[in-house]
Symmetry: C2
């Protein structure tokens, strides 16, 4: 049975913690590029992606369901109707690859969790969607482990930095410039972002794209 | 042939970026605990660990070589004499497990790299130690990929958040408190560190251990 991949997405004013380096329109474009990278990774792993958008959003290649409302409520309503396998994967994981997605969806446990940096949950695979309910925000990884335990579901933790790396802050762009091979890293480069090294630490800087081209 | 695991270690005044939450003696203890976790992971994966210490360091179970001097010079001198397989793994990877180490040492490529957060290299597996030279500091991951290319060596990038997570800063302790199962997370807990959640973000706080026990 093909795995349904639910990808929650916020198209309007997303990624506000990147406001220090990206304008609102750039953040919206960047979020769409990251989404495209995630869609490509899940499709490449054989999943059927559905974008769950808080606002109307047009996407030619992928099914979009517009559901305004809270993340948990939306996902739990959708899960209740799913007897088959479901993957919930965040839209801000531009390092995700088909291989990393394969790793989580080939779990033989009832549930597999890909933790995010800082206690979050970046992807959840459920052998049977309706067996589970999600509880995002805060230390959601620990909450998700508890929910599995309470429900008597076996649970595996997936060891992947590609699924661990969600892009929220300026420092996270370093990871994308180093390890990204998709549309979102291309987009950052087109805006003039490059790696910079100061006092041995790797950061990012933004230059005039024309100046970079001329080099 | 058993894989030799070289673990560079700095026992005196280590992890200065943790000075905001740990005293010098605590940082030294904490570094020893992280080292013990790494030694356990590599031993569990069947490697033969050797601690490469910048200063005299006593360790009952593990061989220690004391080599004052720069990291690159020290490692490159050691590598030159190694015709067999070598793993170089950093001492600040307390989330490492035998499974994660198995993943890197079972690579079929000439070299396998486990990237660290922020452009670093946390572990390097070499099918033949003497075929390579290391170049740490700065964006060492990119440098290590280039060196492999220059030398015509096939190279694999290992996708593991357990090897990706090096502990340098206060925020990294969150990862350890959530995912750690070894001596270093136990040590942090014994000092009174717990997770705290403020405005939906997960951080750490340090309380009086006696107060925590009384709860």
């Amino acid at each position: 049975m093909p795995v349904i991949a639910l990808i929650p997405f916020k198209p309007v004013n997303p990624k506000t913690r990147l406001s220090c380096v990206l304008e609102k329109e750039e953040r919206e474009s960047f979020a769409r590029m990251m989404l495209a990278d995630v869609v490509e990774a899940v499709s490449g792993a054989g999943c059927t992606p559905t974008i769950i958008s808080t606002e109307p959003y047009e996407c030619r290649e992928t099914m979009v369901e517009v559901i305004p409302g809270g993340l948990n409520e939306t996902l739990n309503t959708l899960l209740a109707g799913q007897k088959g396998p479901v993957l919930i994967i965040m839209a801000d994981l531009p390092l995700a690859t088909p291989q990393a997605v394969m790793q989580i969806i080939s779990s033989r446990q009832d549930i597999a969790l890909a933790p995010g940096r800082g206690g979050g949950t970046n992807a959840i695979y459920l052998a049977k969607g309706s067996s589970y309910r999600v509880d995002y925000y805060g230390a959601s990884f620990l909450k998700h482990k508890s929910i599995a335990r309470e429900r008597g579901l076996t649970c595996e933790v997936i060891d992947s930095f590609r699924l661990h790396t969600d892009v929220d802050e300026k420092e996270d762009l370093v990871e994308l410039l180093i390890h990204g091979r998709g549309r979102s890293s291309e987009y950052l480069e087109s805006l003039g972002f490059t790696l910079s090294i100061e006092k041995g630490r790797v950061g990012i800087e933004r230059r005039d794209p024309l100046e970079l081209k001329a080099r």
